[in-house]
Amino acid sequence: MELLAVENLRVYYQTLRGDVKAVDGVTFSMSPGEIMGLAGESGCGKSTLGRSLVLLKPPMKYVGGKVLLKGTPLPIWDKKTMASFRFSEVSLIPQYALSALNPTRKVKKLLTDILWSKGIKFSQIFPELRRRMELVELPLEVLNMYPFELSGGMKQRMVMVLSTLLNPSLLIADEVTSALDVSTQKAVARMLVEFRDRKFVGAIIVITHDISLLYQIADSIFVMYAGKLMERGSTEDLIQRPKHPYTQLLVASLPRIGARYAQEKLQGIPGCPPSLLEPPQGCRFRTRCPRTWEKCLEEPPLVTTKDGDLTWQVACWLAVDKHA
């Protein structure tokens, strides 16, 4: 059975100038143990998609769609009911992990307070906590320190341990490596895989700019553009044989595996993403797509092909015609 199924999810931001359609009809699913990379240019709605599965609050607005976690509906539109799912079922390593810990509480006090609110005693979970801290090479003294006494890497790892402490079914890791130096990045990426292998987490969505990071750790990649899914497939296929023009350009614009395209401003793709206030009709990539044609004025359907266990999804008229 699928661990996570998201169907036609729409999450907008309410602003004075109108709705920002940051996630606009997204459908995908994940298997147990899967690490899915969520890639795309900055501002395409990756964080919004990730956050909406954990904490959907104003100015975010639930517009429509369904989310099933292990077959049961996840009431993401209901902030109150969701509280009991957070941490224990769905958990988040936020983009701002380096400032995520209250600066005026010792780490242990912070953990105690949060766990208490879930009805768990610190002493009860301490043995497991100690094992995990050892695993990520955090000395136990960290518990008696204040967050400002920890290095960036230590804070990042502490947040990782905390976010996964209750073995959530789904973990969302938002740009966990972007604020770190290269060697720490590698270590943190390895830890994510390790956490999955040890079943601390059911599945992970890794949100990142860094496709090369995904190449190392992700089982599948989800390419997003302007609030919509462009292509979804296994890591190997997607990087070696991308079908969607956007993915092709993304992959081609990587000078070599190991470079971070975000820093290079996507030289390979001229133009910039459309406004999400008034997104263009039809295919949203149409304004920049080198292969656009009149058909693209209509919204392309999501073409799904099953290849054994793996599904491949592409939202492009070119893919439709090949099947027709």
Binding site: R51, V54, L55, K57, M82, A83, S84, F85, R86, F87, S88, S91, L92, P94, Y96, S99, A100, L101, N102, P103, T104, R105, K106, D113, I114, S117, K118, Y146, F148, E149, V159, L162, S163
Partner: protein
């Protein structure tokens, strides 16, 4: 932590030195000559004037070179001898001030502490209630923006003159002589209330507004968002936010100390309350060097002392200063 305290202490000593020097300089550069004023008041014959002038100059230590006067001033400060009041001659300045200080402390200390506590509590409380927030905000801004004098006059007029509930002048009724009895204590309290209330209200508005804004800021901070995404209850997040929002409020208290002292002077004057504030005004009107100096000296000491206490309090509540890593985060 000790380095932090040491650094602070040095700053306090330097500030004290500078402030006292300025305190000594200012009355000497004020226009007019107090001895001349006293002499003309006495309306004596010409030769008697010269004798009296010599006597007064000597009595006030004004017959030596100015640098000597400065040194003598420092010596006297450390001896606790602030000279003789010109205006209340021959009462020692120290004695005049000692009589006024209890009144000033009696309105200032409770007004500062209570307004800080109540203002912060109320601001935090209001931040989570829409209707309260929308009424508190304008009211709070109105209160903080009100000059101390204005609110004092308003209260004196409303509760003193119009309603006649409270007296509008003095520390106790003129008909009474100070003694210890319930009647006299009640009379003191009755006179104390309006000056206290007007100080309290202006400060209360400021703290409430400050806290309300800080809480809203803290609730948007990353750690609050993270707690929320971990399903932490609203109460825990608010507790953290309240605690963190208090820190800048403590700093604010230190920064406000000077303004508060000035507010006390004005308030005492409005209510003719016999504290240091009223004394200063009288001393200035009568060009009483020594009394002016004495009053300012006490204000300087009071403000510095209060600041020091606030620093200690900050040290206790903020781990970042306690661990001597201020500014490194």
């Amino acid at each position: 932590m000790w380095r932090y305290l040491g650094r602070k202490f040095t700053i306090y000593v330097l500030t004290f030195f500078l402030a006292v020097t300025i305190d000594w300089v200012i009355p000497r550069f004020m226009p007019g000559n107090p001895v001349q004023t006293m002499l003309s008041r006495a309306a004596l014959r010409a030769e008697a004037v010269e004798v009296m002038r010599g006597y007064y100059l000597k009595a006030f230590g004004l017959d030596v070179p100015i640098w000597q006067q400065y040194l003598n001033f420092w010596k006297a400060v450390f001896r606790g001898d602030l000279g003789i009041s010109v205006y209340l001659f021959p009462k020692p300045v120290m004695k005049v001030i000692a009589e006024a200080i209890p009144y000033t402390l009696a309105i200032l200390v409770p007004a500062i502490l209570l307004s800080w506590l109540a203002g912060n509590k109320f601001g935090a409380f209001a931040a989570r209630r829409k209707w309260l927030d929308s009424t508190l905000l304008p009211l709070g801004y109105f209160l903080t923006a009100t000059p101390y004098m204005w609110l004092g006059i308003l209260l004196a007029w409303g509760f003193g003159v119009a309603l006649g509930w409270f007296p509008i002048a003095g520390g106790y009724s003129f008909a009474m002589t100070p003694h210890f009895s319930w009647k006299f204590v009640l009379d003191l309290l009755w006179h104390w209330f309006l000056p206290f209330a007007s100080l309290f209200l202006v400060m209360f508005g400021g703290w409430a507004i400050g806290m309300r804004n800080m809480i809203i800021y803290e609730l948007e901070a990353d750690y609050a968002q993270y707690l929320e995404s971990l399903g932490a209850p609203r109460r825990l997040i608010r507790n953290y936010a309240f605690h963190n929002a208090l820190l800048p409020q403590i700093t604010g208290l230190a920064l406000q100390m000077g303004t508060i002292a000035a507010g006390a002077v004005v308030t005492e004057t409005v209510f003719s309350y016999p504290g240091i504030g009223s004394l200063i005004v009288q001393a200035i009107q009568n060009q009483d060097y020594f009394l002016i100096q004495g009053c300012f000296l006490f204000i300087i000491i009071g403000v510095l002392l209060a600041n020091f206490l606030v620093d200690i309090a900050y040290l206790i509540v903020d781990p970042r200063t306690r661990r001597g890593m201020l500014g490194e985060t």
